[in-house]
Amino acid sequence: MRMSQELSGALAGLAAPRDGQTRRVLVTGLSTYWGSRLAQALESFEHIEAIIGVDTRAPTRELERTEFVKVSNQHSLLQRIVRAAEIDTVIDTRLVVNSLMAPPRVAHENNVIGTMNILAACTGSDSPVRKFIFKSSTHYYGSEWDDPAFFTEEMRRPHPPHSALERDIVEAEQAVSEFAERNRDVTVAVLRFANVLGPDVDTAFTRMFRLPLVPMVLGFDPRLQFVHEDDVVHALEHAAFHVTPGVYNVSADGVLALSEIIDLLGKRPLPVLPPWGTGLFAGPLRRLGFRIPDEVVNQLRFGRGVDNRLLKATGFRFGYTTRETVLKLGEHLRLAPVIRGVEQTYTYEREVEEFLRWSPYVRREHPGERGGVAADREPLGI
């Protein structure tokens, strides 16, 4: 009993916010799912004065007070925005972590060149940026036959990257680490997210789990770990306020075997992929409409588990375990045919947004009411 008290005391000490100075935030990749979810979440914090979002495309979610600036990845333009708005915290959510989402060249442009540009925009002796949070992926570690069962943050990739995407992620992190080395007074946090599952995200795994028979590699039952989409947003938000510099793995508690996941989803396994040359076999499957991204092929054989205790030591608590994440997805998959088409889509119209934000004719709630939103912000975002 006594020990547990001491322990929770120690944990609370670790959890104490180190920096309440996050006031003016720049969210890059605002139009990605993560960017807009994060901006929505940040809007409910009253002490954040300004939230600026940049992206090349218009946002896909309705934002209340986030300012959207449509801008390419040019660092000179970004730098002007950063300086003009006196941004103290940059949260970079742009990284493409699924090679099906973008052709390799676009992904490279975004992941490597884009990261370099954003870092360049934050550099300089007169830069107002004090904190830089980078959304990375556990694809950084790869997936190999001689991996440890749980990757910890200090481990580097044991084998050279297999796919273009993994190479890009490693390179992007490299750029961030060089930035951290050169700007010691900037708090740099890198969050490596595990594969995300959730009703709203579209990843190779959610596509796979949607099939009635889930393909498996013959003779392999990989250990996989996921993180719920809400926890991703929570973790980014947590990082904005609490995290000390460094790398953190963000992955829900619990590593599940693929067979266990399929069982939880109430599906049947279909062990058809040959153990050797799985990549080659992916060709005919692609024609059938099922594509396995290169970075996931090895995961289907060897799996991957990561240790998430460093992030938990900063006071973060996951809302879902991996098992609960899978169960949630299962519920959603069963419900999806019923509610299909009900959710409405949002289109960004610059004129409407400007009118809503700046016109004197728009009735705004009393400024004090914002606090209420922050107080009961139980369901984050939407």
């Binding site: 749980f150 490693v170 680490s177």
Partner: protein
Amino acid sequence: MAEEHRTSLGAPIPPSAEEPEERSGTTALPIPVPERGATETMRALLPAIEPERRLNDWGRSERIEGLFDRTLLEFFYRYWFRVEVEGIENVPFDSGALLVSNHAGALPPDAAMIAKAIREEHPNPRPLYLTVEHFFKGYPGFSMLIPKIGGVAAHPANVHRLLCDERQLVLVFPEGRKGTEKLYRDRYRLRRFGRGGFVEAAMRAEAQLVPTCVVGAEEAMPVFGQVDLLRRLTGLIYFPITPTFPWLGPLGMLSYLPAKFRIRFLEPIDTVELGGAEAVEDKALVQTLAQEIRAQIQESLHEMLARRKSVWLG
């Protein structure tokens, strides 16, 4: 292929730590990693056990293990090998400990018998994690089965997590493949004990070391020769000639001769007394301890063999 990548159990953060920088594609300047808290704090942060699950985080399945335990292992343990156990009290009741044993046989039955012995004889029938070659994770079939019955790849990080954070029992064969490859004429002659990595692993985790001797495994599946050409053709880690393999095919791997088994657990060695995690850097101490444990096991084996009247009847 497995040979180049073999890691000693003790290296801090392998394999990256051992490999040249250019291989990993990343050069220097790692982003700083936050300090890990005290061991107690980190232990408290381990994922809670979800009772609804059938597997644990290592992929171990109580159901499949129980199935093996009740059928195949029960038969081998009780009737085929007629295992006798000495010194079970030397296996710690609930703290983390590294069991160090001699190793023999083409598909060694010793690990399974030690695990079964702890389940049968120990006052706290704890699960035992068996460290296995990385090879198994890359080989279809094995990759599926081995974790389910308690096998864990012999990666230093895995051993550390099991010993230090989860306080489990781990079994290691420091002879590794040199033990299973050796021929019948070299029986009960211990091979080199790796690079002392197992000592480092135990010291870093401040866990106890329990030297363990197994008599009988060498005769249960004697290896008369190794065929290098067939090994390469099949992609296996070795291709032995035994009384039944390859003549009976894969089934031959499981047909053991009914040798009498004796398992003896020796006095545990407390690594905390020797300096614990701080003394890991003392390579001389590590090597001495590794040598000492090897000598203890060898001596004890000789003594057991001297007393054994018959290979089959004990």
